[in-house]
């Protein structure tokens, strides 16, 4: 097993070009879940945590850039994230427990491409852009087009996730995040939901809804969004939003929950978020 800890992006690119099968490390919280024997089969690892370009939170133009290996504890505690992207700060504080948050990263969550990744619905509603770094340079892909299928991403050979760009959200829009698991911490989600929405002149002017653990990939629930935008912001629309959300997903039964419960939980979470929106009650 080969092991590298490059200290510059260039060095990382060279290693990866020489050896495209290296497993990228961005916190190890997915890698180390397997048995130690499983790691025997690894051709090698490339630890990205030492790259300062990939470990930062800073504004660039009108977008907040978050490095792929920045641990969730830093995202959770960042005043910039808390101010402009409260749903992401909330998600970062609900992922795993304290120790996981000290290691796990947005880049790892994206690359692992689990349907239950807690930060992923948030990236969908924030319309995050993913900057991929490859031997030929960088390219930017909307997160929505990055996560292609169950544990499948648009990452090409020799490419790594560099950072995400979060465009400044609409002024005054409300953001919500809710994770439903067997317990408050240290549970993989049964359902995870993010909503970014706004009301102006008494009507819903913006409504971006996404959910995880309800399909093979995290989904933007566009049917619900279309039905909500333009509607009078009255409590009755909350029921409709929940109902439509439950229709829009394709959950499965597995060890953590049933398809029926997932639909039910999603319906309730979306209904409550929408009620809070129309009542303008911050969560």
């Amino acid at each position: 097993m080969k092991a590298f800890a490059p200290r510059s992006l260039d060095e990382a690119m060279v290693r990866l070009t020489e050896d495209p099968d290296l497993r990228l490390l961005a916190g190890c919280t997915d890698l180390m879940v397997g048995e130690p024997e499983d790691r025997l089969g690894l051709p090698g690892v490339l630890d990205l945590r030492g790259l300062s370009e990939l470990r930062r939170i800073e504004w660039h133009d009108d977008a907040l850039e978050i490095g792929a290996v920045t641990p969730f504890s830093q995202i959770r505690d960042s005043p910039e994230v808390q101010k402009s992207f409260p749903a992401l700060a909330e998600a970062a504080s609900k992922i795993g427990g304290w120790q996981i948050q000290n290691r796990a990263s947005l880049g790892g969550n994206m690359a692992n491409a689990s349907p239950a990744g807690d930060s992923l619905p948030v990236l969908l509603v924030l319309e995050a852009q993913v900057v991929l770094v490859g031997p030929e340079g960088t390219r930017t892909v909307p997160y929505r087009e990055f996560h292609l299928g169950y544990r499948q991403t648009a990452l090409g050979p020799g490419e790594i996730i560099g950072w995400v760009r979060l465009p400044k959200p609409p002024e005054n829009a409300m953001q919500f995040f809710r994770k439903v698991g067997a317990r408050e911490a240290q549970a993989i989600s049964k359902v995870v939901v993010a909503l970014l929405a706004d009301v102006s002149d008494g009507r819903v002017s913006e409504y971006r809804l996404a959910a995880g653990s309800v399909a093979e990939v995290p989904l933007r629930l566009t049917e619900v969004e279309k039905a909500m935008v333009g509607r009078a912001a009255k409590a009755e629309i909350a029921n409709l939003a929940g109902h439509l959300a439950a229709q829009a997903v394709r959950p499965i039964d597995d060890v953590r929950s049933t398809a029926e419960y997932r639909r039910f939980a999603l319906e309730q979470v979306v209904r409550r978020m929408t009620l809070q929106l129309v009542r303008r009650v911050p969560e």
């Binding site: 200290r7 830093q74 240290q186």
Partner: protein
């Protein structure tokens, strides 16, 4: 920790040649050296790239544990928890799930609580590792250990070393945590016996002891 770690790397600057931060690459070079010098990694011919480490091959690694450097030979795939328990026989660190769910293996890496079962031993080079053993003050219990004892913050005791390490890490960054902050601080540590109320009380007591207000009996 993460910040310290970063600072350390930045301080190192663009030195020439192989630096200690290049631990993995450096370890590989070390291994090649050992192949030539001593029969540690038998059967593995030195290859063109010095950084290639064959499966089952050991690499030298220095870990700083409780203030003392420990020179070891490790396989790159070994977790820090495995190395602490099986190679150094420091059994204060417990293994419960070995997959980052229970928290029994919690240690401090540069002062921050981390799961040692989810940390490769190689990754921990150049960090300050603190284990349960490192909290002792000579023959006496450390503040957090003393507080756990006073408040009977356990039943079976298996999760206790991990709980103690999480509380130690919490109090280092937040000397006077609220109940909610305490709950978050031990959110990554499961207690099957449900001793949480006493763990929370013990955390408050430990904070007092650390601030020097507590009257130690």
């Amino acid at each position: 920790m993460e910040d310290n770690h970063r600072k350390k790397q930045q301080q190192k600057g663009p030195e020439s040649g192989v630096t200690r931060r290049h631990f993995l690459t450096g370890a590989g070079i070390g291994a090649a050296g050992l192949v030539a010098g001593a029969p540690v990694a038998t059967g593995a011919a030195p290859t063109e790239s010095a950084a290639i480490i064959e499966v089952g091959e050991m690499v030298p690694l220095t870990l700083r544990i409780n203030g003392h450097p420990r020179l070891l030979l490790v396989e790159p795939r070994w977790s820090l928890a495995y190395v602490l328990r099986e190679k150094l026989v420091m059994t204060g660190t417990k293994l419960g799930c070995d997959r980052g769910e229970c928290g029994a293996c919690t240690v401090l890496v540069d002062g921050v609580p981390r799961y040692s079962c989810m940390t490769l031993a190689l990754e921990a080079e150049e960090t300050e590792i603190t284990t349960l053993e490192g909290l002792l003050e000579g023959e006496d219990l450390g503040d957090v250990q003393q507080a756990f004892k006073e408040h009977d913050a356990f039943q079976c005791g298996y999760c206790t070393p991990g709980q103690v390490m999480s509380v130690e890490g919490l109090l280092r960054s937040n000397p006077d945590p609220s109940l909610d902050e305490i709950r978050l601080g031990v959110s990554g540590n499961l207690c099957r016996c449900g001793a949480y109320p006493n763990i929370f009380k013990a955390t408050r007591r430990a904070a007092e002891l650390k601030r020097g207000k507590g009257d130690r009996s």
